[in-house]
Amino acid sequence: MTGLLALTSELSLIIGTLLADGSPVLQRLSLLVTSPLVWAIMVGAIGIWLMLPRSGRVGGAGWWLSVVALVLLLLIMAVNPAMGELGELVLVFAIAACITACLIGVISWITPRDNFVARAIGATLAAAGLVLVVITLPPLVDIGPRILFWALAGMTAISAVATISMKSPIYSALWFALTILITAGLFFMQGAQFLAVATVVVYAGAIIVTFLFLLMLAQPEGHESYDRMSWGRSASAVASVCGVLMAAGLAYAINHLQYETGASSAPAVAATKAKDVLHEEHVAKLGSELFSQHLVSVEIGGTLLLVALVGAIVIVMRSRSEALTNQSRLAVYSNGAKRRGVNLD
């Protein structure tokens, strides 16, 4: 949210600059064109939008709305000089992405949306957006962790987008399971071993239950119509733009983080604590912390679990008793009576 606040405050700044004089704006526009984050936002938004299920042909409104939002975003990003520092490779990449995005936009505008080509193009664009985000991040020093992180992060992002873009909810659940597994891998990479295992155990159970629910509730006639579309014409476009703008705001804040943390005392503080988090006896340390410092929270959490358990049972039981109307109750009663050989008359 800080990022979004900073974005809005700088929006007023750029408007003031635009009114004041012309030459720095041109300079900023050139910085803007060469900024990978901007291209990541643009390409990512269009890509996710193309992949989401929608109703039929989307008119021009959603398209132009996204274009206007992206142009606005470009203007905002222009004031951040840090975004402009990049090599020639990125510049080539950005120009290629620009041309591709324009072509794709025209092609997918005139063709029916809900087909394989649009989804494939959307996937390509979203992947390009991801790559551009990765370019903006500072790389880890060692090559091993760097490759590991980028592989895990890329798979997480891909499976997350697949989760929300699959038409069949069963496939969504499977992709979500993959997301959870890779997140557990990321936890391992951070040294949070217990959390990684706990995530796999808890969410594996949750996913299996969800999967059973889907098998139980899914209709055999094919995809339901509500799985093949969204709210109206431009809802998915607006949602994509808003979501990616939010990610951009967060990325903006994270990029500004480096100026604050670079010379701050946070790493020094961490060093004095002797990296308790990375201790050999991880679970022992974690347990002692959990049951000494957070004892009350543990108790409250246990109570919450009990309450949720009882609540879930009450919800399901009540719905069952309401579902039995008078007629069906009578039918059940008479069936049971017949079985026992009792004559109701």
């Binding site: 496939y171 997301t179 990321l186 949750a206 949602a239 808003c242 990610a247 983080l257 929270s297």
Partner: protein
């Protein structure tokens, strides 16, 4: 910039991406179970950020918070699936748009203008490898299969 700070930034970025993707899915999708999965995905994004901050500061606060997040998520899953089952029994659909009659007074109803047709090539379903002896199929029982 130290390696720890770089690690923090990278993890914050991936956490932000997960959160944003989950948000988009929650707004766009209409299947209640998929919406529930999207909420879980947003929680995962937050958990990643918390663990990264905990590692950066070298204390246990982040991981403790994630443990409680997992606890609350488990409670949420129990309640949410119970509610979904309740709603499904009343409407026979997982569509959240069915419940728009609880909307505020004076709001216009949302009506689907164009419903895309289901095509043959979209009918792809997961296949399980058969194992063991195939059971005898009772056709009458299949016809009277109760819907929940």
């Amino acid at each position: 910039m130290t390696d720890e700070a770089v690690l923090l930034q990278n993890f914050l970025a991936i956490g932000a991406i997960l959160f944003a993707v989950g948000l988009i899915g929650f707004i766009v999708r209409r299947n209640m179970i998929v919406m529930f999965l999207c909420v879980e995905m947003m929680l995962q994004g937050v958990s990643l950020s918390l663990v990264a901050w905990g590692r950066f500061h070298g204390d246990w606060g982040g991981q403790m918070l994630v443990i409680f997040i997992i606890t609350v998520a488990a409670c949420e899953a129990a309640i949410a699936l119970g509610l979904i089952l309740l709603l499904f029994r009343q409407s026979g659909k997982l569509d959240i748009a069915f419940w728009q009659n609880v909307r505020e007074e004076g709001q216009p109803p949302y009506v689907d203008t164009e419903v895309p047709e289901e095509r043959e090539e979209d009918q792809l379903w997961p296949r399980l490898t058969p194992a063991g002896i195939e059971p005898e199929v009772n056709i009458e029982e299949q016809l009277h299969r109760p819907r929940v």
